[in-house]
Amino acid sequence: MKNFFKRNRNLSDTDLATGCQKGQADCQEALYRRFAPKMMGVCVRYFPDRAEAQDVLQDAFIRVFDKIHQYKGQGSLEGWVRRLIVSTAIDRLRKNKSIGYLHSVPLEDADEPSVEADHLPDDSDLLLHALQSLPDGYRAVFNLYAIEGFSHAEVAEMLGISVGTSKSQLSNARQFLKKWLQNHHPDLYARKQEYIGSAL
């Protein structure tokens, strides 16, 4: 079985999608093996609970195989699969009524500059941990706006909230992350103080 995936590792996205469209079980499994780790990485950004993230991954791949006929080869297969994963994650978030969107920060502060990139940690696990520490509402907006690249209008439509709420959630998320990183990554705070001191 492992040999099969070694052989199919070189299959192009088009061949893989064509095989899946023909209902070839080997190609379906190969597609899952190729993209599952990255898509699981997407899911854990939205859902800190691993079991819930795997549920979303499972539902998303079921949708992928149901809708694989809609993939016409335009754009990368990975991008197409990723969009379905995000869409499934958003559906799950919208169904989850317990998500609260806190409005504690005024809207005019939403576009304040962030910390210097050099002072931010490079450890992906630490950053993921910081992201997962966000409240659900902050995390959803930050994921969609900052990482997925949607606009506030799109985020608002996806989550069923107003554009203002989306902006405030994003601002809150940034402030939360800065504080969290300062607490959990002491170098960040020290370097920032040095930077401020030198600027003065």
């Binding site: 209902g23 070839q24 079980a25 080997d26 379906q28 499994e29 899952y32 599952a36 780790p37 990255k38 699981m40 990485g41 997407v42 899911c43 854990v44 950004r45 993230a53 795997q54 991954l57 499972q58 791949f61 079921i62 195989f65 149901d66 694989i68 576009d111 500059p113 962030s114 910390v115 210097e116 990139a117 931010l120 490079d122 992906s124 950053l127 993921l128 992201l131 930050f142 706006y145 900052a146 990482i147 690249g149 606009s151 940034r174 992350l177 800065k178």
Partner: protein, 259 residues
Amino acid sequence: MPENKNTLDQHFKKRLTDLEVKPDSAVWQNIRAKSPAVTEKKGGVIRPFIQRYGAVAASVVLGIGMVTWMLNPNQFAIKPPIAVTTEITNDDAPIHQPERTASAHTREVHPAPTQALTAITATTINPKSASATVSPQTMPVKPQPKPQKTVELPPIGTKTVALASAEQEDSFIGALLPRITITIDSDAEPETVHSPAPVVEERPTARRYESPVAFFQAKVRDQLGIKKQVDTENQREVIEWNNPFFKVRHTRKIQQEKP
């Protein structure tokens, strides 16, 4: 859409976009179970079973076979079909033995089933004055350069010529075949005297196979009780398979090898 220039956002995007987390193996099982679009692999139960365990089973069988062979190669030897000696004499003529003849003292002759039904005569004789003659009506299995073979009998006491092997005696045809013992007195006295010299039995040498495939083919034939003989007269190959359920007899023309 304006580009997001926030460094915090960019840093998170850069580090987390291609983040990989390995899901549990149960996820794929659930997808396959729940999704109607995901097809089951072809081959049902038997093919995956063979794929999974076939190589292991073949390795075990091959290993056992090789170990057994290494421990006792003669066990795997197929006794060569030695032609029934048409004439045994004690003359001073040079020895003309087939290449695979085990011994002049004691020889086990394995006639084909068709040969087993031939009339065989045996006589107790004095080797100094006479000869023992065994005259089968059919030709021997191996093509013989001469119709008659002459084997010099050394002057020792008792010689035993068994015309049927133990295996053939166990078989139906073998049961019909009497075990013929020729006692030859090497002394000048006319009466038969048994010499105290022990009867030396030698095993036939292990047959060398052309290839491992030929070896396994021979072993499979042995295990299944398939007998393969060559009818040199008619230039045909006879394959017989007798078992409790059915009997198969297949003859085919021998393919002449091109020089």
